[in-house]
Amino acid sequence: MATSALEYGHATAAKRSVLVEWLTTVDHKKIGIMYGASAFIFFLIGGLEALVIRTQLMRPDNHLVTPDFYNQLFTMHGTTMIFLAVMPISAMFFNFFVPLLIGARDVAFPRLNAMSLWIFILGGLFLNFSFLLGAAPNGGWFGYAPLSSRMYAPGHNMDFWVIGLQILGVASLAAGVNFFTTILNMRARGMTLMRMPIFVWAVLVTQVLVLLSFPVITVALIYLMLDRTFGTSFFNLTANGDPMLWQHLFWVFGHPEVYILILPAFGIVSEILPVFARKPLFGYSAMVFSMAFIAFLGFGVWSHHMFATGMGPLADSFFSLATMLIAIPTGVKIFNWIGTLWGGSLQFKTPLYFALGFIAMFIMGGLSGVIHAVAPADLQQTDSYFVVAHFHYVLFGGSIFSLTAGAYYWWPKMFGKLLDEGLGKAHFWVMLAGFNLTFFPMHFVGLLGMPRRIYSYPAGLGFDTLNLLSTVGAFLLGSSFLIFSYNIIKTWRSGAQAPADPWNGATLEWSIPSPPQEWNFAVEPIVTEKDPLWGLKRAAGVKVLPEPPRVSGEGIHLPAPSWWPLIVSVGFLTFLVGIMVKHASAFPFGPISIAGFAITLYGIYKWAYEPVDGHAPTT
């Protein structure tokens, strides 16, 4: 009873230190927390990069940073925010909550899950390590050939990017397989697909996107790595390689990636709105199908990133119209969210603030997206600050607002502490104001002709005032996350203990203690309807169910901790680093790669033959 999930002892491996416990864990909740913590740190690093960028652009012809360092900053800001912040923060929610929402005790492949985490963390550290060598990637997050080729990027900068993204891609693919399988195979009895919480649907669709799009970028990255390191000619002009091939491969991945970043955000908001409106999600099946439709169309619009390349009027027309089509299911989602609020009894808690902020800001990003879909207009806006404004309204106004809503919503379940409401609302208002002050003027400075990715601009083009506004906004926006951090620290020390069900939740995670015990559900739940917890409460005629007791986990079989995911990850990183540091040797692989390959192979072997004894936790 008195034992928390973090303090269990068990028969097979007693007396393990806390460090070893976290390094070897296969518990999806611990893995989720590590995803979140490391991603939040990367998010802060990416934010600091943005602040340096904004300071540099504060006034015309500024000399805070060198051109090359500026290029490193925006390359790493984009790469970090996409691959090391938004995706893994989403992964935190996937890990912690998918099993809880579907009534499972863990994911389908717990050790693979741990491997995803370690590969992600090592890949993120590897990418950022490049700063210490003064050689951070500097070719843009899109790495266009031939600028990313050895000829035009001779240093290790783009090696870090090529290798780093390959490492991160493996983490995403492994997680994709894992969650796809988990959702399809491990749902509680009675939870049909159309009874799944909408967030789980969002995760499922996202994983389909990951599984179909990451192989494409992996292939492109391998081509580029072979070009850079082994002298092949996929993109090499002197041997009739084609830079357009890179653009197509990159955007066939790159556009679905946008939906990989935003669909989880849709899912989170779709969970939060019903709870705080006290009525079910409006048009559940329309929401499911619109997500699937968005994902499907997402694979047919990649060339709208390439209108300026001059593909010809037929291709431009096709990709224009296909892109416009996406606005329809996206509009349906927005209308259904408003429909969910309509007639509700809105409970103004912090998660609802951020969820509403998400809708309001995402509308803006969606509409500027339609403007971009108009190919002739896009010729003026692409690669200008207008598109910078657009995708920040989608990815910050959309994804980050929603992920923050999710953090406030699920924090009590994850850590057993309620975040402070006053600080939460202060966080919201500062973030909303800072966000709009930063990015709204960018629409105008873009329309006034300011290109992206320029390290300075001359006076006299009318860019000065708008850039200064953006810079002030950026610092306001940054400070909102100081409020968030203070909220975390304060409530960690002295916050109210969270009950199992602080928000009158509808889904299964609120039926178990906060934080959950290691085995999640002492008794595997049976589901007979959507919003199963509301059904239970209604049947019992109560607003809040009695606090679930912390129970003994005796007899519950859980997967055993393992070192092998971490070891395989280290081996894999070593292998790729070895390829990077190979210097014009006759033998294509140096000793470092061979050692890394050997470690990986040995790790996989030991992993495969690790006894499946499991461990039965006792209290």
């Binding site: 051109p67 416009m324 609020l341 108009v374 002739p376 207009a377 010729l379 320029i454 009318g462």
Partner: protein, 365 residues
């Protein structure tokens, strides 16, 4: 749109003018783009106000009060779903038709200009980090400053010599990427004279931020004059590549608007010693290894920008600095500080040397 106009008017009051703006089209291509853009913006602003309005109203109207009963549990409505699927589809159709029309309209270069003449072909060559312009019909090569006649359709055929760049003069046309392995095209017909800034819009490496250029839309007479002066280069010495090293330097203090080529040559007068010194330095410092001062047959000095008429160019350093004496001196003495990473590597230049070189450059008009 009123909203946008008000905001922009407010901004214009405090920060204008906006010479690089996409919102003040000065040619047919940009106007076509602007029409479909503005249509979309009107609709987008309308939808924005409507949807955000409904959202805000909903938030206000349905705020919960303590003791509220559980609201009615509605799960959805097929009728409503169908309606709000169809409405956006209709709005998008309103945008889609003119979009496709504009795509096809901007894809084709008109065969006859507004001034009744055939389009003027100009070859654009992107370099890290400057622009080369060639007029195949006129035999002229120049850099970073592109002169075109008013009301003539300009047919640009573009290539890059290294990485991908993107050619953008916002008041006249949208962007068009410039590739190393294939030709891309864009066109426009300028309807206003003046000097208009343009920029590289595709990230192209360290100095992408300073790969700017100027479009000079000249009256037909001014353009003829400019053409004549460039073509007069064919009578110039070529730094000993073809003729003896020290020759008379043409000193042309002021060129009449319609100076014929012969007049230019006849104006060649006694050598100002400072100019002669500058000419020697331009050779001694190795400038002519990369730069040519000859617009007509630049067989030598094609690595760096062609400097024909450099003495009268509005901007230097890849469209970055006003072409004042002070800036020329700064550029000569601190190249790698003004534009770090740029290919130009000149040894130390004293103040006296810089003054002599500038005096020489000023003779190139």
């Amino acid at each position: 749109m009123p909203l946008l106009a008000v905001v922009l008017a407010g901004l214009a009051a405090c920060t204008g003018p906006f010479p690089q703006s996409t919102l003040s089209p000065k040619g047919d291509f940009a106007q076509t783009v602007d029409h479909v853009f503005m249509l979309t913006v009107y609709l987008a602003v309308g939808v924005f106000i409507l949807v955000e309005g409904v959202l805000l109203w909903t938030i206000f109207k349905f705020r919960g009060k303590p003791g509220d009963a559980e609201p009615k549990q509605i799960h959805g409505s097929t009728v409503v779903e169908v309606i709000w699927t169809i409405i956006p589809a209709v709005v998008l159709a309103i945008v889609a038709v003119p979009t496709v029309q504009a795509i096809f309209k901007t894809a084709e270069v008109p065969t006859v200009s507004a001034d009744g003449k055939a389009p003027l072909k100009i070859e654009v060559i992107g370099h890290q980090w400057w622009w080369e312009f060639r007029y195949p019909e006129l035999g002229i090569t120049t850099a970073n400053e592109i002169h075109v006649p008013l009301n003539r359709t300009i047919d640009l055929r573009m290539k890059s010599i290294d990485v991908i760049h993107s050619f953008w003069i916002p008041q006249f046309a949208g962007k068009r990427d410039v590739f190393p392995n294939r030709e891309t095209r864009i066109w426009f017909t300028p309807n206003t004279t003046g000097a208009f800034p343009g920029a590289c819009a595709e990230f192209c490496g360290e100095e992408h931020g300073r790969m700017d250029f100027y479009l000079m839309v000249d009256s037909p007479d001014d353009f003829a004059s400019w053409t004549t002066r460039r073509q007069a280069d064919s009578t110039l010495d070529n730094f000993g590549f073809a003729k003896p090293a020290v020759v008379a330097v043409p000193v042309v203090p002021a060129i009449p608007a319609k100076a014929p080529a012969a007049a230019l040559v006849a104006d060649t007068v006694a050598i100002d010693p400072k100019v002669a010194e500058g000419q020697k330095l331009v050779m001694a410092k190795g400038c002519i290894g990369c730069h040519s001062f000859n617009a007509m047959h630049p067989t030598k000095g094609v690595i760096g920008p062609n400097l024909s008429g450099i003495g009268t160019r509005k901007m230097i350093a890849g469209g970055w600095l006003e072409g004042s004496d002070e800036n020329l001196k700064r550029w000569l003495q601190h190249t790698q500080e003004v534009k770090p990473g740029v290919g130009m590597k000149i040894g130390p230049v004293t103040d006296a040397e810089a003054a002599a070189i500038i005096a020489y450059l000023r003779t190139k008009r």
